[in-house]
Amino acid sequence: MSEPTISRALHDPPLVRVTLILAALAIMGVLIVIPLVSVFYQAFANGVDAYVQSLVGNADTLHAIRLTLVVAPIAVVANLVFGVAAAWAIARFRFPGRTLLTALIDLPFAVSPVVVGLFLVLIFGLQGYLGPWLREHDMAVIFALPGLVLATAFVTFPVVARELIPVLEAVGAEEEVAAVSLGARGWQVLWRVTLPNVKWGILYGVILCNARAMGEFGAVAVVSGRITGETDTMPLRVEKLFQEYDLPGAFAVASVLASLAVVTLVVKTALEWKTRRDLAATAREATATGHP
């Protein structure tokens, strides 16, 4: 099956085409390619040794990397569980409040992360609603790891669910109904039928969620208190190094984050290609057997 193509007669004149393509390339170059390349260029400006040194030789930078590697996975796992549950509920059931739930899932994307951070401070901070109680029980949320996790999880909450809802809808409920008719219980249906069918969607959601979690700045900046060597995550560290005129250090950490973005894009493209191929195969079968 070939991709649908536009016939020659429908093409715009060559001049229009070339102009549009060049304009698109120029914007791409200025906004995306040049910054990305320059991050790596700056990071490696003093050679590979200096690059490695500015990453592992600085205890605070190393701590920031480690902290991000702790915070992001916790947030991702939490959002994986919530995301799968929410996507399943929205894609499979019609219930009162379903539209509201769909809208609420998107809320973190619509709200500025700084507001999210302030909001957490308002609840968990010393002057906040739960602050006194937390202090009595010797627990810290704001300016500590739990606050970072909460802020990151909140901001990245929509990612998995939003990836999963369309995939679940495309797969349809027929196999799940069949599984139930064959004697499967709810958990068996989930583990044996639903999740294997959407595994690529889940993987993609997790990767995207992870990228967003590692790069989160605004909300984390508010709740962390930005204590060097304690609550600085990678993006906070980049900004701090930059403010301190440690450009090689700032760009070295930035390049790690940028690499993550590149890896995410490659995996995303590979997964989309695979999903499209699977869906095309299903569609072909559907046509071959004559049902809509």
Binding site: E174, A184, R185, R192, P196, H291
Partner: protein
């Protein structure tokens, strides 16, 4: 296991899908639910399975009420029109699924799946994924999967609807043979009367959420219960008219109608199947009406002649044997007489 359906009612919004419907399926019988779309046949099947809950009435399996029990506890085998095979599992795992969720021990499970693979003659494809199978093969796998846990009843929702004509024909005969081997009580939904008549022990004709007639294929074909069944079976010519005192007059055809001896005149409809009409060059005293030959289609085991009776604005279809056709030497445009050998009259209800 026998199935008993008692006074089922089901509404979807304002649409009445099932209207106080009762049906008995004796153990081991293969029964077809036949009707036009929207007649409620699929809804009935899904309620029997437990995939849908009725608004009123009861479903009994082997005399025990199951109306409120969940589908997974009913031990039914359900075959879906579009197979609903698990796309990420191979043939073996698909068939093994109902056994795995029941935690069968491995040796027993292996033996049972192999037995079913033999039954559907797909042993060589046990490692294939559903996407690698043809439609007919997929439906056989779906059937084996539905039968794996030895269900008490087997329910099939338009099982051959998505297949092409030749495969459908083969699978029909295969299903009939399979049923003779395993004798599980089976209900299948179809809108294809040929399929229903060929496969089923008894056929249930449904319309607007009610049962119009239940009977063996021969009973239904020979003694249609009412005008709907007659019309639904198709291939008929319809004559409208009136009836009173045991006599009906339908498009100038005067026929006896002993079923309606009343003096009050009523509207009536007469049905004549295409092969029950004869074409005459000259009237022979039997009821007949004049018609023009419009079209002759000889490319069949019978010759299909299309006529038009101008006096009544009535198109007519007649199936002639080849012998009779060569005897008559018909040409399009000729005027002839059409005479029914057998005419079924259904008196319409007074309240319309």
């Amino acid at each position: 296991m026998s199935i008993s359906v008692q006074h089922l009612t089901k509404r979807f919004g304002t649409f009445l899908a099932l209207d106080d419907l009762c049906l008995e399926v004796p153990s081991g019988e293969l029964i077809a639910l036949l009707g036009p779309s929207g007649s409620g046949k699929t809804t009935l099947l899904r309620i029997i399975a437990g995939l849908e809950a009725p608004d009123g009435g009861a479903v009994l399996y082997g005399g025990a009420e199951v109306t409120d029990s969940r589908v997974r506890d009913r031990n039914v085998g359900f075959v879906f029109q579009h197979y609903a095979l698990f796309r990420h599992m191979n043939v073996f795992e698909n068939i093994a699924f109902p056994l795995r969720v029941r935690r069968w021990p491995r040796a027993k499970l292996d033996a049972r799946v192999r037995e079913l693979l033999r039954l559907i003659q797909l042993e060589s494809l046990e490692r294939s994924l559903p996407s690698q199978l043809s439609g007919g093969q997929r439906q056989r796998v779906a059937l084996a999967r539905a039968l794996a846990a030895s269900p008490g009843v087997l329910l099939l929702d338009e099982p051959f609807g998505a297949l092409d004509a030749k495969v459908r024909q083969e699978l029909r005969q295969w299903l009939r043979r399979l049923h003779e081997e395993i004798h599980v009580t089976s209900v299948f939904v179809t809108h294809d009367q040929e399929e229903a008549f060929e496969v089923a022990d008894r056929v249930v004709i449904m319309n607007q959420g009610r049962i119009e007639q239940v009977g063996t294929p021969a009973e239904i074909f020979e003694q249609p219960a009412n005008a709907f069944v007659m019309d639904f079976l198709g291939n008929v010519n319809v004559f409208h008219g009136r009836v009173r005192g045991g006599q009906a007059e339908l498009a100038s055809l005067a026929v006896d109608c002993p079923d309606y001896p009343d003096d009050e005149e009523r509207a009536a409809t007469g049905f004549v199947r295409s092969h029950e009409l004869d074409i005459l060059r000259v009237q022979n005293g039997r009821p007949a009406l004049p018609a023009d030959v419009v079209h002759i289609n000889p490319a069949r085991p019978v010759v299909k002649v299309r006529l038009y009776a101008p006096a009544f604005g009535l198109p007519l279809n007649v199936d002639l044997s080849w012998d009779r056709f060569s005897e008559l030497q018909l040409k399009p445009g000729e005027q002839v007489f059409v005479s029914p050998r057998r005419l079924r009259v259904f008196v319409e209800d007074a309240v319309i």
